[in-house]
C-alpha cells in the first residue's frame, strides 16, 4: 500500500505534490494543513484516511533527509 500523491486545497482549486515533497514541508506547516482539512492523501486515485497515510509516510518516506 503506497501513497502516490498528496493534494493540497489552495485558495483556488487544488495542487498536488509527491509524498517526498510533502514530507519536506515543515512539521508545523503539515500540522496546520491537516488540521484545516486542506489535505487529501491519494493512492491509486482513492483517498486514504489520514492516520493510515501518515503512518505509511513515516515508515517509507524520509523527512528532511532522515533515513526511515
Amino acid at each position: 500500500m503506497a501513497i502516490d500523491s498528496v493534494a493540497i486545497k489552495m485558495a483556488a482549486g487544488y495542487n498536488v505534490m509527491r509524498p517526498a515533497d510533502w514530507q519536506a514541508l515543515a512539521p508545523t506547516e503539515r500540522f496546520d494543513l491537516i488540521k484545516a482539512q486542506r489535505v487529501v492523501f491519494l493512492r491509486d486515485g482513492e483517498s486514504v484516511p489520514v492516520r493510515t497515510a501518515l503512518e505509511w509516510l513515516a515508515a517509507h518516506v524520509p523527512v528532511h533527509g532522515q533515513p526511515t
Binding site: 485558495a11 483556488a12 498536488v16 500540522f31 488540521k35 482539512q37 487529501v40 492523501f41 483517498s47 497515510a53
Partner: protein
C-alpha cells in the same frame, strides 16, 4: 507534475448504484422543462411559426440553411479539438459536455434566448417570439424565419461550447449544464440584442449597433462572449491538479491525440466558411469573397503564430500553439469579413497569430489554467478582430455610413468594453452562485481518476478528528 495512476478501483459487481443526487436533480429539471413547455402551449395555444404573407428567396434560404448546418458541424469540431488535447481519462466527459451544451443551447435559445435577442421590444431586449411563437416567414431579410432561427441557434451554440474548452477536467457536469442554459438565455442573447437586434427586424435595432458598432459574424458577439465567460470560470474554479507547481511553475499536460485535434481544427475551419459566408444572409457575389478572406486570415495567423513560437521557443508545444494561432485568425476576421480586402485579411491574421501567442503565455504567467486555450483564441482574437473593423473598413463604406474612421474605432472599442463588462459581470454572479450552492469543482480523486457524469463523489479531505493533536504531531515528526 503529471500523476500516473494505476487502474481505478473497479466497481463492485452486482446491482448498479442507486441514482445519485445529480442524476435525480437532472431528471427533475428535464421533467420540469418538458412540463413547462406543455403548460405554456396549453395557455397560449399552438406555436405559430412561419406566418405572414412575405416570402423568402429560395436560393438565399437554401444557402443560409446549408451554412447553419456547417456551423452546427463546428460542435463536432470543438469536440474533436478538445478531446484530442484533454487527458485520456477525461475524454468521455469532455465529449459528453460538448453534446449536452448543444442540447442546453437548443432549449434555452428556442424557448427564451431568441425572443430576447430578436423579438419586438426596445434597444435592450425583445419580448415576443418566445418559443418562436408568431415567427414570421420573413421580415427585413431574404431568408425565412425558421432558417434565420436555426442559423442564429448554431451561433448561440458556438458561444456556449467555447466555455467548455476552458473548464474541462475539473468542473462538475451539472454546474456546467446550468451555466450553458444561463449563457443561452441571458448572457449571449441580451448582448446579441444590443449588437444585432436589427438583423431580423429593422425596427428592433440594438443600442450598440445604433451607435455604429459593427460585428459582421460575431468576433465579439459570439467568440468574445464565450471567452470572457470562460475567463471568469477558470479564475473561480482554479487550475487543474498538478498543472502548476506551488510556486506557479507551469507543468503543461501532454495532449492525448494531436491528430484528433487537427481534425477538429479542420472541421472548425470548414464550419467557419458557413459561419462567415452564411452571415451575409443571402447568396450573392459577396459570399465567395467572404469565404476567401476568412481562409486567408486563418492561414496568415497559422504562419505568424508558428514562426513566432518556433523562433522564440517560449511555448512548450509549437504544435498546439500553431493550431490555436490559426483559429485566432479565423475568429479575428469574423467581424470584418464583409468589408475587408484580401491583404487586409492577411494583416488581421498575421497580427492575430502573434496576439494569440502573447496571450497564451500571459495566462500561464498569471497561473490561469485555460485548459484548451479558448481565451487567447476567442477572447483576444475576438477583441482584436472587432477593433480591426475600425482599422480596415474601406473609406467608401465609411463615407456611405457618414462616419469617420475615429468614430468607427470608438464604436468598436465601446462594443468590446461593453461586452467585457456585461459578460464578465453576469458570469461572476453565475459561477459564484454555482460554487456556493451545488459546487463548481469535482474532488481531487475524481479529477485524477476521470470525471464520471452521474457518480457520487466519494472523496473527502483528510479528517483528523479521530487523532488528537499530540498524536498528530508525533506522526508528523
Amino acid at each position: 507534475m503529471t500523476i500516473e495512476l494505476a487502474n481505478a478501483t473497479p466497481r463492485p459487481g452486482g446491482a448498479p448504484p442507486a441514482a445519485s443526487r445529480p442524476l435525480r436533480l437532472a431528471t427533475l429539471t428535464a421533467t420540469g422543462l418538458v412540463a413547462g413547455v406543455g403548460i405554456y402551449r396549453a395557455l397560449v395555444g399552438s406555436t405559430q411559426i412561419g406566418v405572414g404573407q412575405a416570402t423568402a428567396d429560395p436560393i438565399d434560404d437554401l444557402w443560409v440553411t446549408i451554412a447553419a448546418a456547417m456551423v452546427f458541424m463546428m460542435q463536432a469540431g470543438f469536440m474533436a479539438f478538445e478531446v484530442g488535447l484533454a487527458r485520456p481519462h477525461h475524454a468521455p466527459a469532455v465529449a459528453l459536455k460538448n453534446i449536452v451544451d448543444w442540447a442546453a443551447a437548443s432549449f434555452a435559445f428556442f424557448l427564451v434566448g431568441f425572443a430576447f435577442m430578436f423579438g419586438s421590444g426596445n434597444a435592450f431586449i425583445g419580448w415576443d417570439l418566445f418559443a418562436l411563437d408568431g415567427l414570421p416567414v420573413a421580415i427585413d431579410s431574404t431568408v425565412s424565419g425558421p432558417t434565420f432561427f436555426i442559423f442564429q441557434l448554431a451561433f448561440a451554440g458556438t458561444a456556449i461550447t467555447i466555455v467548455s474548452g476552458s473548464l474541462v477536467e475539473r468542473t462538475t457536469f451539472l454546474s456546467y449544464a446550468i451555466a450553458s442554459v444561463v449563457i443561452g438565455v441571458v448572457i449571449y442573447p441580451i448582448f446579441g440584442r444590443w449588437a444585432w437586434g436589427s438583423l431580423y427586424d429593422a425596427g428592433s435595432e440594438g443600442w450598440l449597433e445604433a451607435l455604429g458598432f459593427r460585428d459582421f459574424a460575431g468576433s465579439t458577439v459570439v467568440h468574445s462572449v464565450g471567452a470572457w465567460v470562460a475567463l471568469v470560470g477558470v479564475i473561480i474554479v482554479g487550475p487543474r491538479l498538478g498543472r502548476f507547481d506551488l510556486d506557479g511553475t507551469s507543468r503543461p499536460f501532454p495532449p492525448q491525440n494531436l491528430g484528433l485535434t487537427v481534425l477538429g481544427t479542420l472541421i472548425l475551419w470548414f464550419g467557419w466558411w458557413g459561419f462567415n459566408g452564411g452571415s451575409a444572409l443571402a447568396f450573392d457575389q459577396n459570399v465567395p469573397r467572404i469565404i476567401l478572406v476568412t481562409n486567408l486570415a486563418g492561414v496568415a495567423a497559422l504562419l505568424s503564430s508558428g514562426i513566432h513560437a518556433y523562433a522564440t521557443k517560449a511555448s512548450s508545444s509549437v504544435f498546439s500553439t500553431v493550431i490555436g494561432g490559426a483559429l485566432t485568425g479565423l475568429v479575428a476576421v469574423t467581424a470584418s469579413a464583409d468589408v475587408v480586402d484580401p491583404l487586409g485579411a492577411i494583416s488581421i491574421g498575421l497580427i492575430a497569430g502573434l496576439l494569440h501567442n502573447v496571450a497564451a503565455e500571459s495566462l500561464e504567467r498569471l497561473v490561469i489554467d485555460d485548459a484548451l486555450g479558448a481565451i487567447p483564441v476567442h477572447g483576444v482574437g475576438g477583441m482584436w478582430g472587432t477593433l480591426a473593423v475600425g482599422i480596415f473598413i474601406p473609406d467608401p463604406i465609411l463615407d456611405e455610413l457618414g462616419r469617420s474612421r475615429l468614430d468607427q474605432l470608438s464604436a468598436q472599442a465601446l462594443g468590446v468594453l461593453v461586452c467585457l463588462v456585461w459578460t464578465m459581470g453576469i458570469a461572476y454572479v453565475l459561477f459564484k452562485t454555482l460554487e456556493r450552492t451545488i459546487g463548481l469543482r469535482v474532488s481531487p480523486t475524481r479529477e485524477l481518476v476521470g470525471l464520471e457524469v452521474f457518480e457520487e463523489d466519494p472523496v473527502h479531505a483528510a479528517d483528523p478528528d479521530d487523532i488528537d493533536d499530540d498524536e498528530l504531531r508525533r506522526l508528523l515528526s
